[in-house]
Amino acid sequence: MRVMVLLVLLLLPLAAPSLAVQPDEMLADPVLEARARELSQGLRCLVCRNENIDESNADLARDLRLLVRERLVAGDSDAEAIAYLVDRYGEYVLLRPTASGSNLILWIAGPVMFLLALAGAGMYLRRRRATADEPPRALSEAETARLREILGK
């Protein structure tokens, strides 16, 4: 996928595709490596289209992967490593937008819409039931006459 990645690759003279995470990038400590993978999946490859750095083949993604690992080896916590990247590349790098400021709208849009929809549906359903609870209207004179006629009485 990721035409953009491939375009970037093509800037190199007929480069062979390099796969996402390379064996030489990986950290010896499996715990740190697992954390790096986890973090990488939430970070955007900046020159790609909607692709995280863990999956991307772009050179920049590789640099970012190495950077994340460097920070983790240096003893950063997950949050510190992320903050380090956001400081340098802006919040564009986060695939999971923070729930701060105007982004709150994004995060609460779904739940609020759900509550509104539930309220609307509830009102509709109560109205339908209210109609259901009405006792059936008695037949009018004309209807009674017609009924007698049909029944042949």
């Binding site: 796969l19 995470v21 390379q22 030489d24 695939l95 819409m113 509709y124 339908r128 039931r129």
Partner: protein, 656 residues
């Protein structure tokens, strides 16, 4: 010469569509039968013209006519025939031609099979369908003409994007378009009903088969795309929440809601206005999808034509049609008075809840997809909304949907009691909980996703079976005599369960191994012994390949010999990875060969992907359910009535 004829019939089709948009509409208003009847032959003629036009373009691709600009840009003489044909729609202009061909195809089938429709309604439906046709034919002819010639044709073409040279992706767009465009029928019926100011059970019965067909195609199209991503992109991801994927997913969600609400209109004559609104929204999302893909507003992988002029044209189409339909809706919706009455606990209420969940889920996807644009324009924040957001914000609604589904599906209309409805489902519920508990104990301390997925998946599948058993009165012989609609419903709901099982178990238990392997080296991945036996250069028809031979065995027994490849397409100067997959019911073994390493050996990735095929199997089962439901007696009975009426109709016209 043939290309010119194709070009000519394309323009002719637009002229016919323009007539078909106006004359039947006036006829319906004034009650002139001859004017109304004009819609049927016009729809046929329009379809034939576009069919010829499409065939002409296909001919140009197959014969590699490099005097056509489009063929030069997207084809090559060495390309296999299948991809020469697929190249017709593997680009913007050709895919738009396919789009209008399918649009006119739906219009023509409504004309042929719609003899049972009231003539006024039919004339209006075909007229609205033709209006959409005019807009998109104008779009093609004025901004993206596929028949442009080159003054000096080159000797060979520039080849189709190698990623698109794949059987899965060759058929992905046609199915997707059948789905997108099929929703135009629901839209046309909705607008026609608004013009008439009347929606009744018969209307719902006419509109449902079209929606069902569109939904089926959309389901298959999305599944094909996801399957392609899984095996082609080299790490086994199956859904990326990419703007273009979302563009196909939103109409699917709304179409699913529409299918269910139309049942309420058909059976109970309630939810009429809401159903009309859904029909409009479903097509609105289809058009939005087209807009997103074609305009490049939200850059994404699939967007093959980023051209602002085209974007503005489509935005204008979107504004006119959806704006117009919604305005009409605002004036006429109040005329759609509900007739059916029902209690708070009833099938009707369950379907309302289904609609709330599906519509809100679609809303979440919509907001998430457009948020980067809104944040940039309104707040000046450049940010990304990616998979982690969607997984978190979208999933709860699907979980809720799965929880209520089996119960809601079994409830009787009008008034139900939860305890009573739950009785045939106790078995499914107990099984689901037991299996989930087992899963939880067995996997000790891994993702909670697996047990949750198991409980929902088994509850859905078991619930669907339990409902069939219950409806058959617990007698095997009666199962075969159940209406096909019941079978279709059970299949579709069970398919949803199968997909949920696949998605959750694959996500929870995926095993990955990345390493440098020397030739002849054997390594262990999750109990499988993988050997890198050989790596060699192989030449394909239009590519060069680095092909590995890898053996996988388990406990000394050979499981599979696989050949993962890395390909280079010299014409397009593009490399691709071809993963090798050993498919299985319980797991896929997924191998990828990488680069040679400086110290010797090759980078190799090995994945064990449990339950992967369940994801797409579930989608296929869902689509199959739609197909079974489509053959239900009540639609066929309607077809019989049509034939009878057709005879009468022909006599009527002759008498005129």
């Amino acid at each position: 010469m043939i290309a010119e004829l194709g070009h000519f019939t394309l323009i002719l089709a637009m002229a016919i569509a323009a007539l078909q948009a106006v004359i039947p509409l006036i006829g319906a208003q004034k009650g002139w039968r001859g004017w109304m009847a004009m819609a049927t032959p016009a729809a046929t003629a329009q379809f034939l013209c576009l069919g010829f036009s499409f065939a002409a373009l296909t001919y140009a691709f197959v014969t590699s006519d490099f005097s056509l600009r489009l063929v030069v840009l997207n084809s090559h003489t060495l390309k296999p025939l299948l991809y020469k044909v697929a190249g017709v729609w593997g680009n913007h202009e050709g895919s738009m031609l396919l789009w209008v061909l399918i649009l006119s195809g739906f219009g023509a089938s409504a004309a042929w099979f719609g003899a049972g429709l009231p003539p006024r309604l039919k004339a209006r439906v075909l007229s609205v369908q033709a209006m959409i046709g005019v807009a998109f034919l104008g779009f093609i002819i004025f901004t993206s003409n596929p028949f442009l010639r080159l003054a000096e044709p080159p000797f060979n073409g520039e080849d189709l994007n190698p990623l698109l040279q794949d059987p899965g992706l060759a058929f992905h767009p046609p199915f997707l378009y059948l789905g997108y465009v099929g929703l135009s029928m629901a839209f046309s019926f909705a607008v026609a009903a608004l013009i008439e100011g009347r929606v009744d059970a018969a209307w719902a019965r006419w509109v449902r088969p079209w929606t069902l067909a569109a939904w089926m195609f959309l389901t298959i199209g999305i599944a094909l795309g996801s399957w392609w991503a899984y095996y082609e992109l080299g790490w086994g991801g199956f859904w990326f929440w990419d703007p273009v994927e979302n563009a196909s997913f939103m109409p699917w969600l709304i179409a699913t809601a529409l299918l269910h609400s139309a049942i309420v209109v058909e059976k109970r004559e309630a939810l009429k206005a809401w159903t009309i609104l859904l029909a409009i929204l479903a097509f609105a999302f289809s058009l939005t999808g087209t807009f997103i893909v074609r305009s490049g507003v939200l850059t994404s992988v699939h967007a093959f034509a980023n051209d602002p002029a085209r974007g503005i044209f489509i935005l204008a189409i979107l504004a006119v049609f959806i704006g117009g339909a919604l305005t009409l809706y605002a004036f006429r919706a109040s005329a759609m008075e509900a007739r059916g009455v029902f209690g708070l606990v009833s099938r009707e209420s369950a379907l309302v809840l289904n609609n709330v969940l599906l519509a809100v889920a679609a809303f979440v996807v919509f907001v998430g997809t457009l948020w980067p644009l809104v944040a940039d324009l309104a707040f000046g924040r450049k940010l990304s909304v990616g998979a982690p957001f969607f997984n978190q914000a979208f999933t709860p609604f699907m979980v809720l949907l799965a929880v209520i589904l089996p119960l809601g599906a079994i409830m009787p209309w009008k008034r139900a009691r939860i305890g009573q409805s739950l009785r045939p489902l106790w078995g499914a519920l107990a099984l689901a909980l037991a299996l989930a508990a087992l899963t939880y104990v067995m996997q000790t301390g891994r993702s909670v996703l697996a047990p949750v997925g198991v409980v929902l998946g088994v509850w859905l599948i078991g619930g669907a079976l339990g409902e069939l058993w219950h409806r058959a009165g617990r007698r095997t012989v009666r199962l075969a005599r159940l209406p096909r609609a019941d079978w279709g419903k059970a299949l579709a709901h069970a398919g949803f369960g199968v997909s949920i099982l696949g998605i959750s178990l694959l996500t929870a238990w995926d095993v990955e191994d990345i390493r440098v392997a020397q030739l002849g080296e054997t390594f262990d991945v999750a109990g499988y012994d993988v050997t890198l036996a050989n790596v060699e250069r192989v030449d394909g028809p239009n590519y060069q390949s680095t092909m590995a031979t890898m053996r996988i065995s388990r406990n000394g027994r050979l499981v599979a010999v696989l050949h993962p490849e890395k390909r280079l397409y010299p014409v397009a100067r593009m490399p691709t990875t071809e993963a090798a997959i050993d498919n299985g019911v319980w797991r896929d073994l997924y191998l990828v060969i990488g680069d040679p390493q400086t110290g010797g050996g090759w980078a190799v990735r090995t994945y064990v992907k449990p339950f992967a095929n369940w994801i797409w199997a579930g989608a296929i089962i869902m689509a199959l359910g739609g197909a079974v439901s489509l053959t239900d007696r009540r639609f066929r009975v309607a077809a019989g009535a049509r034939k009878a009426r057709r005879g009468a109709g022909a006599a009527g016209i002759a008498a005129e």
